[in-house]
Amino acid sequence: MADIALIGVSKRFGDIVAVDDLTLQVDDGAFVVLLGPTGAGKTTTLRLAAGLETPDRGLIRIGDRDVSKLPPAARDVTFVFQQYSLYPHFTVYDNLAFPLRSPARRLPEDEIRKKVTETAALLRIESKLGNRAARLSGGEMQRVAIGRALVRRPSLYLMDEPLSSLDAKLRAELRLELKRIQVELGATFLYVTHDQIEAMTMATKIGVIESGRIVQIGAPREIYEAPKSVYVAARLGQPSINLLPRAAAPELAAPSAAVTIGARTEHLRIVKARGADAHGEVVWIEHLGDQNRLHARILGHDVVTLAEADAALSVGDEIGVRFVNPLFFDVNGDRIVAGTA
């Protein structure tokens, strides 16, 4: 087990700056998730850590070794890809044993058997050890792919959207399992995703990435409750944060520099029209079963919030909106922290 640090790392592909003077520290035993939309530079960052790309500038350290110039095999890291890459004609057992049988390692066969059995138990695929990989379901294949990464016990695990090819239910299951395994092994994970639920539920820290830079890193709750900017605020939360121009709520007390009001569901109270900060109309109520989403229009702006299941509201109703400690952003999209305005 080890920590990893990327210090002032940059990588360009032609005219495109994929990673731009990025600095990131992943502590030993941490589960750090890089979250950002397509093209933000998450995967390139991960590939740089793995040694699949070489940085144009900057330093990469694993433990106390400078690995910037080392090939992947010399870094003692393991990489799990979005698409499982198994040997289809091998059994699950042989797929799992494969990384241990590399000529560089020369582990005795009973040692291999022990490690494979342990890993299979961890991933709950013991009963499948004798099956050919080609005969597994998608979820089982991805578990074997993860197992192949785990069996070696490297100092660092790098994962690139390993769950995104699975269906929703399986993804939810494997999320819990992956987190459990990481905690049980005390392993260090650097994990890339664009799925905010994966980030929120598994990470000890989320690094939000924008145009090749980490714009904020912190515990999920910190990122959710105290985002540094509009960009970060928009990455987390379902329904996503409502961003309204200051002028949409003239009655609301706000810092003088505030240009944008950021209101999550918990910052909004729907009230009878009088005595509200802003007024609008119900456009649509979306019944999702576990929650009802209220879509409203306030001075020409769309607002989405959660409504109580028994809220007596229907389309066309006039409503008032009260803000409860919303977030405020300035003209650059940076959050105005209370007390500094």
């Binding site: 239910k169 987190k179 664009h194 929120m200 539920t201 709750r221 019944h287 999702l288 079963g289 576990d290």
Partner: protein
Amino acid sequence: MARIEIEKLHRAFGDFVAVKSSDFVVEDGEFFCLLGPSGCGKTTTLRMIAGLELPTSGRILLGDEDVTFKRAAERDIAFVFQFFALYPHMSVRQNIAFPLKSQSVPRRERALRITEAARALRIEPLLDRSVGGLSSGDRQRVALGRAIVRQPRAFLMDEPLGALDAELRQVMTGELRALHDRLHCATIYVTHDQHEAMSMADRIAVMNHGVVEQIGSPREIYDRPASMFVADFIGLPPMNFLNFADRLEAGATEIRLGQAEISVPTLRESLPESELALGVRPEAVLFDDASALRGAVFGTEYLGTTQIVTITTDFGLLRARVGADRNLHVGERLGLTFRPEKLSLFEKQSGRAIYTALYEGAAHG
């Protein structure tokens, strides 16, 4: 515009029955979802309605017309696929115009319809761009444009958003529903994503192994699932099942889980001693120290506004959705109660829902 009626529609491939004698009606102007896991028969059903596949038996009516054995081109139905096939060397306008050209619609009418379709989809500024440089969201909008420009009598969509990433899918879900509200044309939409179905559909048909297990509004399906399969397929996390064995008496308003007495909707049928499951939605779980039903926190998943708490009990694992402000730690012992009006009961062997006051007035699938 037309309603679509499916009668005893059946499709077998050798020994394998893909769709088993299904019946349903999609009303004119309705947004109807076929929902189920892969291999449940939803796509085969859709392809038969489109005319891309012929049924083994049964009938398909479009309006008053029997189209069961008509060719796809004669059905006046537009089909939108998951992988949008656009002509890469043509502009957006030419792509949208294509179906009209092949129907030899006069030039002036063509121009008018293209403008209308582009306006409905808010892609007017893109009309003269080449499709090669478009984002995946805009490509899907163009594919939809090509479907709506024909002004068909019905739309069939096969996971049209399946290839998009989560954020864009959410946006497109809203757009598709808004588009439907403008066009009011019968739409059958196939998906395995329950969230899409819940969000867009007027009614949902949940399919499993070629059989329609339940048809109802999103709310009905969520609140009154007809079977354990439906209850488990809908909701994230899905409905919890607490396992117990007992006999049930019509008129009873409580069941026993070990030492705990649990209030349930009034039972409307009696059952001899059987294996049963109490169905509990995650948001119907409440914490109450006084309750005789005990559990221990196994893990929590923080989601911002809410958190999912996984709890072990003597009757099985339970997932609860509670506010994120509640502080819980692993191993903590909890007393549990449930919102009685939200509970379902199932007979485990058949998986069917037991009839209670909750289900009164509901259409059973």
